[in-house]
Amino acid sequence: MGSSHLRPRTAMAIRARLGFVILLSLFFSATLSTALYEDQVGLADWHHKYIGKVKHAVFHTQKTGRKRVVVSTEENVVASLDLRTGFIFWRNVLGKNDHIDQVDIALGKYVVTLSSGGSILRAWNLPDGQMIWESTLPVSTLSKSSLYVLANMNVGKDNLILVFGGSSIHALSSMDGQIVWRKELSIDSLEIQQIFQPHDSDIINAVGFVGSSEFVVYQISYRTGEVMQQSKASFESGFCGEASLVFDNLVVALDASKSSLVSISFKNEVINFHQINLSDLVPDFSGKVTLLPLKFNGMLAIEIASSILLLRVKGANELEFVEKISHPFAFSDALPLSKEQQAFAILQHDESKIHFKVKSDNDLRNEILKETIQMDSQRGNIEKVFINNYIRTDRTHGFRFLVVMEDHSLLLIQQGEIVWSREDGLASIVDSTTSELPVEKEGVSVAEVEHNLFEWLKGHLLKLKGTLMLASPDEVAAIQAIRLKSSEKNKMTRDHNGFRKLIIVLTRAGKVLALHTGDGRVVWSVLLPALRRSETCGNPFALRVYQWQVPHHHAMHENPSVLVVGRCGHGFDAPGIFSIVDSYTGKVQNSLILEHSVSHIMPLPLTDSTEQRLHLIIDAKLQAHLYPKNSDSLKHFFNEMPNIYWYSVEVEKNKIKGYSLESKAELDTAEEYVFQAKELWSIIFPSESEKIAVTATRKMNEIVHTQAKVVADQDVMYKYVSKNILFVATVAPKAAGEIGSATPEEALLYAYLIDTVSGRILHRVCHQGAQGPVHAVVSENWVVYHYFNLRAHRYEMSVIEIYDQSRADNKDVWKLVLGKHNLTAPVSLYSRPDVMVKSQSYFFTHSVKSMAVTATAKGITSKQLLIGTIGDQVLALDKRFLDPRRSVNPTQSEKEEGIIPLTDSLPIVPQSYITHSLQVEGLRSMVTIPAKLESTTLVFSYGVDLFFTRIAPSRTYDSLTEDFSYALLLITIVVLVAAIFVTWALSEKKELKEKWR
C-alpha cells in the first residue's frame, strides 16, 4: 500500500525541468494532487502508536532470543511488546465491540485471544502477529466466559484450549481451532466458576454454582468431554456467586449475605460445606466482605472495611492471618517458580513511593524481594501488576514487574528502576483543544536551536547539490537527516506561520496532556485531582475540554488556560466537575465540584474583561449556570441575554426543543448566576416513521470569508451563512439497525436543516431506500452527509447547499460601488429569510468512520472534506467534487469556474490520503486547526494511534516550500550583481577606447 501513495523523488526532478507552461497547466488542472514525495514523510507529520490500558499480560521469556510480553487492552488491542524497550513488535486492533476477555499463549507459538463475550477465539502467530485461525463459539453472551489453556496435555501433538462460560464447555484444538468436543452441561442456570486440572491426570474438574444455593463439581475427560463424575450439594444460606479456588479440592466462596465465608471441600463425590467464622480473625468484624481475585494456591485475599487481609488456608475450616494491607495496592497473579514453589507480588503505595514485595508460598511471612521506587505523582495509583521472573547469575530469582498505572500508562520495573514506560492513556482521548505557544521574548535563549551561519550555509549547499542532482548517496542521506530533525519545528515558542502549537488532550483516565505539534512529544501532563476517585466523588469521568482564557489584548501577562469538565458518576443528574488548567505549564489553577449536573455546555461568543470565555452550563433541571462567576461576566452576559438561545436534542423522545433564558424571579445573591429556561419551540418527529440518527452543526470558531458565491458568467449567489443551523438526519425505525436488516421499501432517510433560534425547518429532503449509519459535516452554507443506499447497494454522499434568496436582488453595481446596500448589516433569524437549496448525491466507495472539514485562518482557501475510512486512514476529498452545480456537460464558463463534470461516484485518488501509508488504528475523530498561514490547516486525528499533519487544500500558495533552495536564490543574485558590475566596467572601457580613437 505504501509505495502507491508516494511518488519517487525523480518525478519531481523531471517536473522541475519542464517549463512554465506545464506548471501553469498543472496549476489549473482539474485534480490537484496533494501527495507527498517519499522523502517528505515525517517532515510535517508524525504518527504515534499506542495500545491502550492493559487488561491482561502474558510474558514470553522462556526461550532465548527476543523477550516479549503479550498484552490485551481495553481498546481491544492485542499486542506484543519488546520487554527490553517497550516497543511494539506487532499489534492487532479488533473491532469496536469485540472486547477481549482473555489472552494466553498456546503451544508456545500462538497467542490465543477470547473476545466478544467468549464467542470468538482467535490464534495469532507469536513472532509476527499473523492470524492463524479463528473460530466462533455458540455461547450465550449473558454469562462471563473464560479461557483455559491446558498445559502439558497432549492429544496427539495438540494441546486443547478450553472455553467455558454459563453451562457449556468447548474444547478446541490449538493447532487449527477446530472444536474437538463440546459439552453442554444440561442444567439450567449453571454458572461454571473454574476449570482446573489436577496434577497429571486425564481429568479436568469444573466447579460451579447452580442457582444461588447449589454447588456442583464435574469431572470431565479431556479427550472426549465425557462427564466421568458429577456431584452436587446445596447450602441452605446460599451463595452470592463469588468464589476462589484455593486448592485442587477446596473452594472458598462468599455466602449470599456477603458477610461470611464458606469453604467447600470436595473429594470423591463428597462435598462438605464449612462456614468460617471471621470474627476469630478480625475481632471487631462487621459489615460486608469482598473476595478479591488472588489466584494463589492456599491463599485468600478478602476486603473488610476498606482494608485487605491476606489469609492462608490451612484446611477446610482453618484460616491463618498473614498480612494486612491498606489501600492503594495491587496484587499480581501467582507465578510458578518451580514445580512446588509459587510466588506473587504485592505492590503498595506510600505517597510518591511504591513498595514492591514478592512472597513465595514457602515462607509467606517474609519476602523474597523487597524494593522501593519513586514514582511520578502524575501517574496516579497502581491499578494492575503482572510479574515475571528470570534467573540471576547467582541462580536466585529476579523479578520484572509490568505495572499499569491509574493514568493507563504502562511501565516495566526491574531491579528498582523503571526500564521503560509507555504513555498509553493517549490511546483513549476523549476530547482535545489547542493552545498557542508563548511568544519568543528577547533575551530568552531557546537552547541550542539556532544553527550558526556556517552550518546554515553548509546545509543549504547540501540542499543545492541535491536539487542539482549532484549529491552522492551519503549526502542525500545527510540532507534527509537534516530535514527530519529540523529543530525549527520543535521550538517551544510561537512561529510566524502558526504551525507550532500545543494540542491539549483529555484522556479517559482524567489526565490532561499537552502535545507539541512539531513531533508529538508530551510537553506537560497532569492527572487531574478532581477527576480521581475520592470519597466525595466515587466514579468520576472526563467529559470535555474547552478553551477558557485566551489572552489577546488584555491580561497579556497571564497564561492561556483550558477548562476541563467532568462528571461524578454516570447519571445525567450527577454533579459536574470543573478544573482550570494552565496551558503553558499544566498547573491546575482552580478545581471544584459543582452543585449541579452538566448536560449541555455552551461556550458563549463573549469574554469578560480578563478574556475568560463565558460558559453556560445547562443542568438536568434545565437551569442555566453562568461561568465564570463574577460581576463582570454577569454584566457582559446581561447585555446579550435576550439574544442567547439554546436547544436540546432528545434522541429517546425523538424531539428537539428550543429555549430562551430568563432571570429567576426571586433574585437571591447565590442564584444570581442561575437562569431559567423558557421553552420556545419544539419539533417532534413521528416516532413510528422517524428516529433521530445524527445531528451536526457548524464549528463555533469557523471563519467564513465571504457571503457571496460567484458563479459562472459573473453571476452572484448569496450564501445563507448562519451559525445557528442544525442538520438532523432521521431514519425509519425499522431501518435503524445494521445494513441489510431492512428492505429498501422500509428504509427512509430524512435530512432536515433547522434554524435553532426560531425552530424553523429551512429544508427537508427524503432519501428513499437509504439508511444509516449516517455521518454528517456542516460548514459555511453546506452540509455533506454519508449514508447507505439500499437500492444501489452502495454508500452515498449527498451535499446540500443553502442560499439566501432574499439577498439575491442585490445586483446593482452602482449601489454596491457606493456601498448603498445592507448586506453586512446584522441579521436577525426572526426576519425569516427565503432560502434556496441546491443538492446532489454521489456514490462513494468507502464506509466512513468519521468526517471533518478543513478550516483555515481567514476562510479564503477552498475546503477539503476529511474522511476517516474504515481502513483507519484519512482521505482528503475536495469540496469541488461535492458541488450541487456539477452537471454532465458543463458550459465553457462553468468549466472556467472550475466545475467538474458530473460523474455518478466520487473519485478516490490514492495520493490524496493524508495519512499516506500509515494507519491511525481505531480512528475516532479528526480535528482541524487553522494555521496562521492562510493556505494551511493542521490536522490532528486520533484513535488508538495519534496522527498529525498539515495540509494545504489549494497548495501552499502563500509560502515557499521547505524544498526551496535559498542558496540557489542567493547565488543567482550574487552572480547577477557581479555580471552587472563586470559589464558596466567593460562598457566603460570600451567607451574610453572609442573616445581616444
Binding site: H600, Y645, W646, Y647, T706, Q714, V716, N724, L823
Partner: protein, 178 residues
C-alpha cells in the same frame, strides 16, 4: 553612450574665424559682392511655391500620421481575436499593449505633429482624428479587458469579499453530553 558624448562635447574651441556658420559651409568664403541678406524677387516667388508645396505635403503627411492608428487598430483587433477570451500570459500581454499604445500615443500627440506644424497648415483636424482613433483603440483595449473579466463591472466583483452579515442571535446546545 549618450552620457559619454555629452562629456566629450562639454567644451570646444573653434579656431576658424567664421564661427557663426557650420564648419562645412564656412570652409569657402562668400564671393565678393555677394550679399547674403539681399533677396531675389524671382527667387522669392519660387520659394513661395516651394513653401506651398511643402505645406501641402505637410498637411498630407499629417493626415497620414493621423490615420496611422487605424491600421494599428485593425491589427490589434486581429491580435485580440487570436488571443481569445481566457486569461493567460498571451492575452494579458496583448491587452495591456493595446491599452498602452493609445495612451502613449495620446501623451505624445504634440510631438507626433511637431514636424508638420506650420502657420498655413491646419493640423487640428488630423490631430482630432488621431486622438479619436487612439481613443477608439483604447476603448477596444478596455473592452478586451472587460471580456477577460478584469474590470469590476459586475455585482460579483463588489460583493465577493463582503464578509457574512453578523447574526444577532446566538444559539448553542445539542445532544446532552454523556
Amino acid at each position: 553612450m549618450e552620457k559619454g558624448k555629452g562629456l566629450a562635447r562639454r567644451w570646444a574651441v573653434e579656431f576658424a574665424e567664421n564661427s557663426s556658420y557650420s564648419s562645412s559651409t564656412s570652409d569657402v568664403p562668400d564671393p565678393i559682392g555677394f550679399n547674403r541678406s539681399a533677396s531675389d524677387p524671382d527667387d522669392a516667388n519660387a520659394s513661395r511655391q516651394k513653401k506651398d508645396a511643402e505645406s501641402a505635403w505637410k498637411s498630407q503627411k499629417a493626415w497620414e500620421v493621423a490615420q496611422a492608428p487605424f491600421k494599428n487598430l485593425l491589427m490589434m483587433g486581429f491580435m485580440m481575436w487570436m488571443a481569445g477570451s481566457t486569461v493567460h500570459l498571451f492575452s494579458i500581454g496583448i491587452t495591456f499593449s493595446a491599452l498602452w499604445q493609445p495612451i502613449s500615443a495620446l501623451q505624445g500627440v504634440g510631438k507626433v505633429f511637431e514636424p508638420y506644424k506650420d502657420s498655413k497648415v491646419d493640423i487640428l483636424a488630423p490631430k482630432l482624428l488621431f486622438i479619436a482613433l487612439n481613443l477608439a483603440a483604447l476603448a477596444l483595449g478596455v473592452w478586451k479587458l472587460n471580456t477577460l473579466g478584469l474590470l469590476p463591472s459586475h455585482a460579483s466583483d463588489w460583493v465577493s469579499s463582503l464578509p457574512p452579515a453578523p447574526e444577532v442571535e446566538y444559539s448553542g446546545g445539542g445532544l446532552p453530553i454523556h
